[in-house]
Amino acid sequence: MNQEDTSMLFGERTRDTANSGYLWRNSGSPLHLSIPAAEYLSESPIQFGQINPNIASNIIPTLHQDSVFSFPPGFPPSLSPTVALPFTMSHGTTTLAFIFQGGLIAAADTRSSCNGLVACPASQKIIPVHSHLVGTTSGTSADCALWKRILSRELRLYQLRHGRMLSTAGAAKLLAHMLHPFKGTEVCVAATLCGWDGGQVDTHLLQPSSAGMGQEKNIAIISQTESQETFLSPAISAEHCSAGAGLGFSGPSLYYVCSDGTRLRGKLFSVGSGSPYAYSVLDGGVRWDLTVEEATSLAREAVYRATHRDAYSGNCVDVYHITSNGWTRRDREDLKEEYYREKEREKEKMKERKERQEGKDGPSSSGNK
């Protein structure tokens, strides 16, 4: 255990390429990160998998003292010649989140695109981090998935060490600081963290409650958490109570965190190539006193409009609702059906209006106003 390893500070680059594949070993703090030897970082623009062949021969792998791992051939990756990226990646999505009286709504489409190819029409862009925090993701899918898992891990470790759940603000700060060393590289993560602080504490991180949004769902969560609290050790629960009393803020909060270092708190965010379309629909409809049904249909409508106009968003929509009891997930809906349903509804409404017009005007011909 390198307690005196203060030289391996957050953000500092090391020549120790043996650590390149294993960044968070033996860390005294959750923010301990080591960056692989990076002459090529300053010399040439970062290109995925491509290294300056002159540098490769200079790097001598020095195994860390505590390391007992034998690296497979071809590892660390900077030593082996790698293939060039087969296609250029681009980031397209529509995600949104907002706060209202009933908690938070987070919604996203489900299309993963690669510059013109729909790589996956059923991806999941809203990832639960723990029972009271979900994160919407935009940018590179791989980066987002990885960093969300890292964030869940760090939040869980924090919870075990300190006996209370880190607030959304703290989680946002943690994520922003973890992403900071990669600023200027091709890591691309633009996430909104939607969480409820001061909610019921559970020892389990992820509660897969994907049944729908009925009342019995919420009751099920409450009973589950109550039963789990009995398993907490007395020391932790006491600590939790005192810490809980010390918590200043409880309620919904929404943070936008980006890999270029942005961290913003707000009440309404939309991220991605389809976000302009969603923003205008949300701006006109979001109020504090929406009911849960109105808020979910507004979120669905905003994603639907964005997927209608933006080529990189589409397929289905996921809607999550976060309250003091945790998050609940609405069943995934295919937006293609929504398009046809809307056309049907329009036809019906027009027929009704025409009938009403003819009823009012009687035998007169035109229905112009």
Partner: protein
Amino acid sequence: MALFDVSGYKNHLELRGNILGTGVRHFNFGTTNQEFAVPAGMDPSGFLKSCSREGQGGVSIDLNHGTTTLAFKFRHGVIVAVDSRASAGSYIASKEANKVIEINPYLLGTMSGSAADCQYWERLLAKECRLYKLRNKKRISVSAASKLLCNMMLGYRGMGLSMGSMIIGWDDKGPGLYYVDDNGTRLSGRMFSTGCGNSYAYGVVDSGYHEDMTVEEAYELGRRGITHATHRDAYSGGVVNLYHMQEDGWIKVCKEDVSELIHRYKKGMF
């Protein structure tokens, strides 16, 4: 004439031939005056690219289509709504620029892109429409007017023009709406929105549009589209200029400040 010989007066066409020579790219639009002859070998768009941010050192003249304009057809005609902010980079050059050109009482043109290009070419279009009416004793159709503008753009394609405009009118075929672009794109459609705020306008108009709207509903929708776009887009703002193209010509409906309109539409949460 003898006087011409004595005074040394030369016909302007002759003079032109002497000055410009034969190796010149001409824009022959069927008129014998006013053309822009570009010397052979000059590359305006390459020059412009070097002046923009991606080009070499320091100079940054970005021609963004910094505006929001929208137009949509519905049962009772065509609604045209535009903002009024003219920006030069990050400087707001005018907060009440006029982005709709009233070509004649039954034709309107909107402007987005480079203000100079739009104003010049649309005034030229107005001139051509008037000449058409005088020659043929009937109004020009919207389709023909948009085609004239499109051909003007094609004559200078690749030379760095920046114009995204919509031609709106009412002719024998009914209400007409065409989108014309500096690339030479010409599209007929039911709804268009141009400028960098267009995506915000699309979201609003798509969700509020139905074929048999009343006139008041259509006015509200046009206003809302521009207002929401100006709220989120930095390069749009000022006032909403709203026009309604009817069968017997266009009327100007209103000119309202977006900073007041946004309070009506945002329902007071933020």
